[in-house]
């Protein structure tokens, strides 16, 4: 709780810096507009201004500072512009509207959740196999670890196009990319977790003449839960990134990734920023949900803090 004041201070400083940065970032366009509207600006003439740095120009024209916070297509939108856009596209638009961020967010979220579910179930199953079979461990595990050093996201466009050519469109290709991205963190974390019981504990199970099955369900599985949740948190964030990137090559029709791409095509900076904040809020909410589940589960298991 004692962190609230410092955190708020840091956030306030960031917002203040953001506002301050808006002035030099948008000053060139603001001065041009003011000149066209008949105001006196220094220096006159677009050519001379183009040569000038943004900060000297801003210092010479304090009268147009207000305009830098209210442009339609600013280079850097002011925080309140982004907040207004977020409010308008979430609360004031109908959910079914193509301009509603909730509509686009749901498209992305459904792909993320489906992919995350597939990826984590497959990851847990493979981890169980790896722990049980030494041959599987030795053949698959090095590849699973090596695959984490590879920028897997690069294959996203190919998966989308290939699946498109066999007739799969929309949700499933994105979910496959999401699943792929959450799969490997879950495998690696779960294997670590299932192996976490020490030799002492395994021996204890043996003295109770527990079968391999009993050891698995009563010792390895519970011991792996903290590790599982740690990798689920990484996995769900990775799934969201996968779904967003998966939306880029399809011609950007629907979803938060599509909002980012169309925004960058048409120079709609406010739209980009609001989509960016929407992804941030979505990511934070997803990670928070997994973290909440983790706390409840660990508490019921008696290992929570």
């Amino acid at each position: 709780m004692r962190a609230i004041f410092p955190v708020l201070t840091v956030v306030a400083v960031i917002v203040a810096l953001w506002y301050a940065a808006c002035v030099p970032m948008n000053i060139h366009f603001a001065v041009t507009q003011a000149e066209r509207a008949g105001q006196v600006v220094t220096p006159e003439g677009a050519r001379e201004r183009r040569e000038m740095g943004a900060i000297p120009l801003a210092l010479k024209n304090p009268s147009v500072w207000g305009d830098t916070f209210a442009q339609d297509k600013p280079r850097l939108p002011a925080p309140h512009q982004v907040a207004v856009e977020l409010w308008e596209t979430t609360v004031e638009k109908k959910v079914t509207s193509k301009r509603s961020l909730i509509f686009h967010g749901w498209i992305t979220l459904s792909a993320t959740l489906l992919g995350f579910a597939i990826g984590s179930v497959a990851g847990v199953l493979l981890a169980v196999g790896i722990v049980h079979s030494r041959a599987m461990d030795m053949s698959v595990m090095p590849w699973a670890i090596a695959s984490q050093t590879i920028p897997i996201l690069a294959i996203a466009p190919m998966i989308i196009v290939v699946l498109n050519s066999v007739g799969l469109q929309g949700l499933v290709p994105k979910a496959i990319i999401s699943a792929y991205l959450s799969f490997f963190p879950v495998v690696v974390g779960m294997v670590k977790g299932l192996r976490s019981p020490g030799a002492m504990q395994i021996d204890q199970m043996r003295t109770w003449s527990a079968s391999a099955n009993q050891t698995f369900w009563k010792l390895r599985m519970p011991a792996s839960v903290p590790y599982l949740f740690a990798s689920l948190k990484i996995g769900i964030a990775a799934s969201l990134v996968g779904a967003i990137v998966g939306e880029l090559p399809t011609g950007a029709v629907r979803g938060l990734g599509a909002r980012l791409l169309t925004g960058s095509y048409y120079g709609q900076t406010i739209q980009i920023w609001s989509a960016l904040f929407a992804t941030a809020i979505l990511a934070a909410a997803l990670v928070a949900i997994v973290a909440g589940l983790e706390r409840v589960t660990l508490k019921r298991m008696g290992v929570g803090r």
Binding site: R2, A3, F5, P6, V7, L8, T9, V10, V11, I14, R75, S133, R134, A135, D137, M138, S139, V140, M141, P142, W143, A146, Q148, T149, I150, P151, L153, A154, I155, P157, M158, V161, V162, S165, V166, K233, A237, L240, V241, I244, V245, L248, P249, L260, L261, G263, S264, G267, T269, I272, W273, A275, L276, T279, A280, A283, A284, V287
Partner: protein, 282 residues
């Protein structure tokens, strides 16, 4: 015919798996040869099956090209691949990586010196580290243009927060006893920093460096999807996908995989030299 090929594929799979089971459960399973051989056999089997099934069943090239064709394309377009590698990895990812890590290091020292900043900035940093930062790519491409500078900027933003969180966590690693010892020797902040706390932080720093190495490549490649000059791995991937030249896409993926593992391997190697004292390295 296709049935025959499927049966053959199954037989190869079963044979290779049997071989691996024998090696893995044999007496020599702990030797280095076995530990390299088993995954190698597994990978090779996959490649052979891929080749066999794609060629045997006549799967169209726009869905999946066979590995030999990808290798052909790779060897045949080395100059293009090299130019893309230089543009994306050396100019975009590496320069951004270095700038981002240095900036995070500087910020971590500031955070370390001020308790207020630590309590204020760390929750924000932890929060931002979990966000999909690739999303800033369109904005940064708009600000810094299509060339590698914008890709480096994306990489800076992507690696900054994981590095900051890891370095700061690492700097907390020393015990009160050790820090008091430095104080009794009348060591200044910087002496204590260079001689005790920074070395103790190294395992965390390298953990961050390793995570960031993958992030840097992802950032540089994905940023090119939002606009790039006519060179670069992300550019080549997205245009080749558009032309359905999937062998070229796969060749770029091979480059990305090689670059990623080389980058990671290099950092792991340096880590081994620097943190030789840490239990995980012994």
């Amino acid at each position: 015919m296709s049935l025959l090929i499927l049966i053959l594929a199954l037989l190869i799979w079963a044979g290779a798996w049997r071989l691996n089971v024998v090696i893995a459960n044999g007496r020599r399973a702990d030797t280095r040869a076995a530990q390299l051989g088993v995954p190698a056999i597994f990978g090779l089997t996959l490649l052979i099956l891929w080749e066999l099934i794609v060629r045997g069943l006549g799967i169209p090239l726009v869905i999946l090209p066979p590995p030999t064709m990808i290798a052909d394309r790779f060897m045949g377009s080395l100059p293009i691949l090299w130019a893309d590698f230089v543009q994306t990895v050396v100019k975009g990812a590496l320069s951004g990586y270095v700038i981002g890590c240095l900036a995070a290091f500087g910020t971590a020292i500031l955070v370390d010196r001020s308790d207020f900043l630590k309590r204020g900035l760390m929750p924000v940093g932890n929060f931002v580290a979990a966000l999909p930062i690739v999303g800033t790519a369109p904005i940064l491409v708009m600000w810094y243009g299509f060339d590698w500078q914008s890709k480096a900027a994306v990489v800076v933003v992507m690696v900054f927060f994981p590095m900051l969180v890891n370095i700061t966590a690492g700097l907390q690693e020393t015990t009160t006893m050790q820090r008091d010892q430095m104080k009794t020797w009348a060591a200044s902040y910087w002496q204590g920093f260079w001689k005790l706390r920074l070395p103790a932080a190294m395992p965390f720093v390298f953990n961050g460096l390793k995570i960031s190495s993958t992030l840097a490549l992802i950032g540089a490649i994905v940023a090119e999807f939002f606009g790039s000059p006519i060179v670069g791995m992300g550019f080549r991937i997205s245009t080749s996908v558009g032309q359905l030249a999937l062998d070229m896409v796969w060749a770029e993926i091979v480059v990305a995989a090689l670059a990623g593992s080389a980058f990671y391997g290099l950092i792991a190697l340096i880590e081994k030299k620097v943190t030789f004292w840490h239990p995980s390295q012994r």
